[in-house]
């Protein structure tokens, strides 16, 4: 079981695609809600907070899955700078996905707001009331969201480059499990290795 797998394990693929939808929705909800004064502001904000906590929980599970299951190797013929960019951008994505909900939660705590995830569910404050800290965190939340969106665009572009131009093993490794030509193989290898 020491051989590097060709595909991501199914929990990793499930988390990837689920979170792709949620995080992209989150970025659009966030950008939209702060740009309008009409009723959208209110209901988008009401989605933004519980969804952010949902993403926080998912990213924790995802990091555990990532650490326990070795991901497929990058293609051997991929130039070194591209390999470096791929690895760095993935860890940047993990870091931002973890940081953004925590900063949002910390920022509301520092601003003295009750952190409400609905009309009656309230999370405890994770920072003491401190308006100066609020201002720094609020701006960090904004600029890191821009960075997250740009990193997402790079990720999207790179995935399409692998899938359409290089046509290598990268995109299939996240799109599907073991090849259909070897149906029995899917039952045996890394999932059951644990």
């Amino acid at each position: 079981m020491n051989t590097t797998p060709e595909y991501f394990v199914w929990p990793a693929r499930l988390l990837h695609w689920l979170m792709a939808v949620l995080v992209l929705a989150m970025l659009f909800i966030g950008a939209g809600m702060v740009s309008t004064v009409d009723a959208k502001h209110d209901w988008l904000l009401a989605i933004h907070k519980p969804l952010g906590i949902g993403i926080l929980l998912l990213v924790i599970v995802r990091i555990i899955v990532r650490l326990r299951h070795r991901p497929p190797a990058l293609p051997a013929d991929l130039p070194a700078p591209m390999k470096l960019a791929a690895r760095a951008s993935h860890w940047l994505l993990y870091a931002l996905l973890l940081a953004m909900p925590l900063i949002g939660w910390a920022m509301l705590s520092a601003g003295g707001y009750p952190v409400m995830l609905g009309s009656s569910v309230r999370l405890p404050a994770i920072l003491p009331f401190n308006p100066l800290l609020f201002a720094w965190l609020r701006e960090a939340h904004r600029y890191l969201a821009y960075l997250l969106f740009l990193t997402f665009l790079a990720h999207l572009g790179a995935a399409l480059y692998h899938g359409l131009i290089r046509r290598d093993s990268v995109l299939p490794s996240m799109l599907r499990g073991e090849p259909r030509s070897a149906p029995n193989a899917a039952i045996v290898p890394e999932e059951h290795a644990e």
Partner: protein
């Protein structure tokens, strides 16, 4: 899907170009959609920033201060519910308990040094800290109706009443044109014609103006408005226009003698009463509950008081109270958040902001 184990057939030049274009288009369109949603492609959209910019442009920039109702004082005390509203709302604040309150009494406008006699309106903002950790924040004004019904009209009014740089006063022609084209302002104009700046915060009735919805334990929804009715009845008009800061002095004098009390009146809407139009008063015969007593015991200057860094966002609500369909509510919430970010950024000295004046280096007027 091609089998990755097989070498892919090389792509022709035009096929390769087409694929690069498809990638470029996908990434660009995603970026464009994000820019559209974020408002960068539609500068005409009424964003919270645009609304607060308009307020700031009218009054000038006073770093560290609220962008509206900039002049005020902090107050503190408690609210004692009596259970009368508990039939309609599950919010714990309405039970027969004491809930601590940090509030702010203020006058409208963006100038924190404006003379108290310059406007006939006073405001009361309150933050109730409920025992379960939830909060209720509300901002009320001493007028029976709001001047406009929508954020867009509020913005237009703000632009129309911008001081003319030559005279320092709004252009009467522009103000007149605004009101002429906004007939919904008639009830406010009728009231303001006879309104006089009061000599005290203590004798004012503060109306919530926006409608909200109370939700009871069974989930039944009752639209309401609320107001604070003063016990102090010695209403006098401001008599000393020479003194710019008589409201704070009057408040201090009264609180040194005794706490000040208001009754929270909750007005229950009848079916058909407008909840989305703060320019329209509800008929006076609507059932009105006395839901409890607000007791204010102390006051502090806003520069150092507990209210300074509170955003009195009217959509910070406890379970049992929810927003109505009043379009002013999300706009207030969004604009207050922007104002709060601006002033806390100035306090924190964030790059690109004007540092807030420290408590020891205030302009002359503030120390009078």
């Amino acid at each position: 899907m091609t089998d990755p184990s097989l070498p892919a057939a090389p792509l022709g030049k035009s096929a390769l170009l087409g694929r690069w274009l498809a990638i470029g288009a996908t990434v660009s369109l995603t970026a464009l959609a994000f820019a559209y949603v974020g408002g960068w492609l539609s500068p005409q959209r009424l964003s919270p920033m645009r609304l607060v910019d308009a307020l700031q442009q009218n009054s000038g920039l006073y770093p560290g201060y609220r962008r509206n109702h900039a002049k005020g004082v902090c107050v503190a005390g408690y609210f004692e519910g009596n259970g009368a509203a508990s039939r309609y709302s599950t919010a714990g604040v309405f039970a027969a308990v004491r809930t601590p309150v940090v509030g702010r009494l203020a006058i409208p406008g963006g100038n924190p040094y404006a003379p108290d006699g310059s406007v006939p309106i006073r405001s009361m903002a309150l933050r109730f800290a409920l025992a379960n950790g939830q909060q209720w924040r509300t901002g009320m004004n001493s007028m029976p109706v709001f001047v406009v019904a929508t954020p867009q009209s509020f913005y237009e009014q703000t632009v129309a009443s911008r001081p003319d740089p030559a005279t320092g006063k709004p252009d009467p022609a522009k103000v007149g044109a605004f009101f002429a084209s906004h007939p919904e302002t008639a009830p406010f104009l009728a009231w303001v014609k006879t309104a006089k700046p009061s000599a005290s915060f203590a004798t004012e009735r503060y109306d919530g103006l926006n409608a909200f919805v109370f939700v009871d334990a069974a989930g039944h929804r009752q639209p309401v408005r609320w107001r604070m009715l003063p016990e102090a009845q010695d209403t006098t008009a401001a008599t000393n226009p020479g003194d710019a800061d008589f409201l704070a002095a009057d408040l201090q004098k009264r609180l040194a003698a005794a706490p000040l009390r208001w009754h929270l009146q909750v007005i229950l809407a009848a079916p058909g009463d407008p909840t989305n139009d703060a320019t329209k008063a509800w008929p006076v015969d609507r059932t009105t509950l006395d839901a409890g007593t607000l007791v204010l015991q102390s006051t502090e200057p806003q520069d150092s008081g507990a209210c300074r860094d509170i955003n009195y966002d009217p959509l910070v609500l406890p379970a049992g109270i929810v927003a109505s369909d009043d379009p002013l509510l999300p706009a207030r919430s969004a604009a207050y958040a922007d104002s709060y970010l601006r002033r806390t950024s100035e306090e924190a000295g964030l790059p690109g902001t004007h540092a807030a004046a420290s408590a020891t280096a205030k302009p002359q007027e503030a120390t009078q």
